[in-house]
C-alpha cells in the first residue's frame, strides 16, 4: 500500500525554479497496476523517484506498507529500497562487465545472501523469464528484450512489494515491448504492485488505472 499526501518538489535549474511536483496526493493499494502518463516534463519521473525513495520531497508525507518512509533516515531508506522496491529502467542499467546471472544475483550479493542460496534463486528466476540458456552471457551479447528481462529478474529477485518501471518498453521494438509488458503484468498478477511511467498510450491502456500528470499536478 502506497499513500502520498501533499508532496511538493522544487528544483533549481540554473536561476530558474522548476516546480516538479505540486501538491501531489495519491493512493495505490497492494497489487494495483497503475500507469503514470503525461507529456515530458510533467513530473512523471519526479513522482517515480519520490515513490522509489531515490529523492526526498520538499514537503508532504509518504507511507509505504504502513511505514511513514518519508521520515526515515538515509540508511533506513536504503534498506527499504533493497527489500521492498524493484526498479526497471528504460535503459536497463545492467552492469556491462557482469554476466546475466551475476546481474540478477547483484541484489542478493549486496544484501549478503549466501552463494548456494543465490545459485538456486537466480537459476530459478532466469529459467522463469526464459533466460535459462543466457546465464553466462554478458549484456552486450543479449538482445534488447532479453536485457530488459534480465533487468526485471534482477528487480524482482528480492521479492519486492512494489515494482517501479520507468518507460520499461521505451527502448524496445514493439514485439519485445509487449513481451516485457506481459512479464510485468504476470508479476502484478502474482501480487506485486506495479507502477509504470509511460507516454505510450498503448501501454497506458493495458493498466487498470491511469494517472495523468500535467505541470507537476495529477489531473
Amino acid at each position: 500500500m502506497i499513500h502520498l499526501q501533499h508532496i511538493e518538489r522544487m528544483f533549481m535549474v540554473g536561476e530558474e525554479e522548476v516546480h516538479a511536483l505540486r501538491d501531489v496526493s495519491m493512493r495505490a493499494e497492494a497489487g494495483e497496476y497503475i500507469a503514470i502518463m503525461g507529456p515530458s516534463g510533467s513530473g512523471k519521473s519526479s513522482l517515480l523517484n519520490i515513490l522509489g525513495l531515490l529523492d526526498r520531497p520538499d514537503s508532504g508525507s509518504y507511507e509505504l506498507d504502513g511505514t511513514l518512509v518519508s521520515g526515515l533516515d538515509e540508511k533506513q531508506q536504503a534498506a527499504i529500497r533493497m527489500h521492498k522496491i524493484g526498479f526497471v529502467f528504460q535503459f536497463f542499467h545492467l552492469v556491462p562487465r557482469l554476466s546475466a546471472f551475476e546481474n540478477v544475483a547483484l541484489p542478493l550479493i549486496l544484501s549478503g545472501v549466501k552463494p548456494d542460496e543465490r545459485q538456486t534463486r537466480v537459476t530459478a528466476a532466469l529459467a522463469s523469464f526464459g533466460l535459462g540458456n543466457r546465464a553466462r552471457h554478458r549484456p552486450d551479447q543479449l538482445s534488447g528484450g532479453q536485457r530488459q528481462r534480465v533487468a526485471i529478474a534482477r528487480a524482482t529477485i528480492m521479492q519486492p512489494s512494489v515494482i517501479l518501471a520507468d518507460e520499461p518498453t521505451g527502448n524496445l521494438d514493439r514485439s519485445s515491448g509487449i513481451e516485457v509488458a506481459e512479464i510485468l503484468e504476470e508479476l502484478n498478477r502474482q501480487g506485486m504492485t506495479l507502477i509504470m511511467v509511460t507516454h505510450d498510450p498503448e501501454m497506458g491502456k493495458r493498466s487498470r488505472r491511469q494517472i495523468l500528470m500535467v505541470d507537476g499536478r495529477i489531473q
Binding site: 531515490l54 529523492d55 536504503a78 529502467f89 535503459f91 542499467h93 562487465r97 541484489p107
Partner: protein
Amino acid sequence: MLAQDFLRYTVKSVSSQRLRSFLTATGIAVGIGAVVLLTSLGEGLQHFVLAEFTQFGTNLISVNPGKVTTHGISGALISNVRPLTIEDAQTLKNIPQIIDTVSVLQGNAAIESSGRQRRTTIYGVDASAARVWRFEIAAGRFLPNDPPRAARSFVVLGSKVRQELFGSSQALGARVRIGGELFRVIGSMESKGQLLGFDLDDSVYIPTSKAMALFNRDSLMEINLLHTAGSSSTSVAEQVKKVLIARHGSEDFSITTQEKMLEVLGGVLGTLTFAVGAIGGISLLVGGVGILTIMSIAVNERTGEIGLLRAMGVERSQILALFLGEAVVLAAIGGLAGLVLGVGGSWLFSLLIPALPAHTSWSYAAAAELLAVVVGLIAGVLPARRAAGQHPVEALRAE
C-alpha cells in the same frame, strides 16, 4: 555484503579493464620495485660495511694516547700526554672481563729477503693478536707467547708480502731483514683483503718490543682489548678508564668501544638506506597519481552503475568502500609485481656485483606492500568520495 563477494566484485571491476589496470598497476609496481631495490642495496651496503668492520671480532675496545677534547688546543702546545706502554697493557689484562690485550705499534719499513725488497707496513703486536683480531694462519704459526720485553725476532708475513718475497718457494724458516734487523719467518697469513683502502695482506707482524726498537719509540700507538662476550662494553670501558687514570694520574687517553663505533656507523648507513628508499618513494607517488587518475575516470564512466547500486539499496558508505577497495586492489597487485621486480632486480644486482650483495629483508618487503596499499587507499579517497556523493537520480540519468 559478504567479504568474499566484496573482494570478487572489486577484483572483477579491476580485471574487466585489463590494459588500463595493467598500466596503472605498473606505475605502482615501478615505485615499489624502486623502493625495494634501493633499500635492498642500502641494506646490502650496510651488511657489507658492518661485516668488514667486525671481521676482527666484535667485543673490542681500543685505547689511544691523548684525550679527544673539544678544546681547540693542540696537544703539541701543552704536551702533558703520557704515552701508553706495554706495562699499561699488562695491567689492563688483570681486569676480569678482559680476555686479552694487544699492544700495537705500526710503522713502515723495508723488508728484504735474498735480494728481493719491499716497503711494507710493519705491525708490532703481541702473540694474542691472532686471537683478538681473529687472524687465520695459512702456514706455520703466529708469534709465540714470549715475555713482552724479551721477545724473539720472529715475523709473520701477510699473504701478499709472502707472495712478493718468496713466490712459490718455501718461506717458513727463512731469514728476512726488516729495517736492517734480522728476523726469522715463523708463519704466513691467509688473505684478508682490504679495509678502507688499507691492504691488510701487504703487512707483516713482529713482536711489539722489536717494533719499538725498530722505530725507535718507547710507547705504543694503541692498545686493543678483547672483552668477554657477555659483558657490557661500556662497563668494561669504565674499568679500563679507572685503571689507566690510576696509573697516569689523569685522563690522557681515549677509549673507543667497537660497539659504539658500529652503532654510529650503523646509524649513518641506516639513514642512507632510508634516504635512498625515499627517493624510490617519489616514483611511488607518481604511481599513486596514476591510480587517482584512473579511478576518477572509472567513477565518471560508471556513474550509471553507481545510480543503479544506490537504487538497489546500497548506502553511500558502501559505494565509498567499493571504489576504495578497487583502488587498493589495483595498488596491491602493483605492489606485489613491484616486490617481484625489486627482489629480482636486487638478486640480479648481487649476481653482477658480488662484492656488494643486495639484501632484501622480509620486513622491508612487507612494509613495501603495506606502503602500496596505503598509497592506493590515499589515491582512492578522492574518486571514491565523489562516487559516494552522487545523487542517485542524477547518477541514473547519466547513462
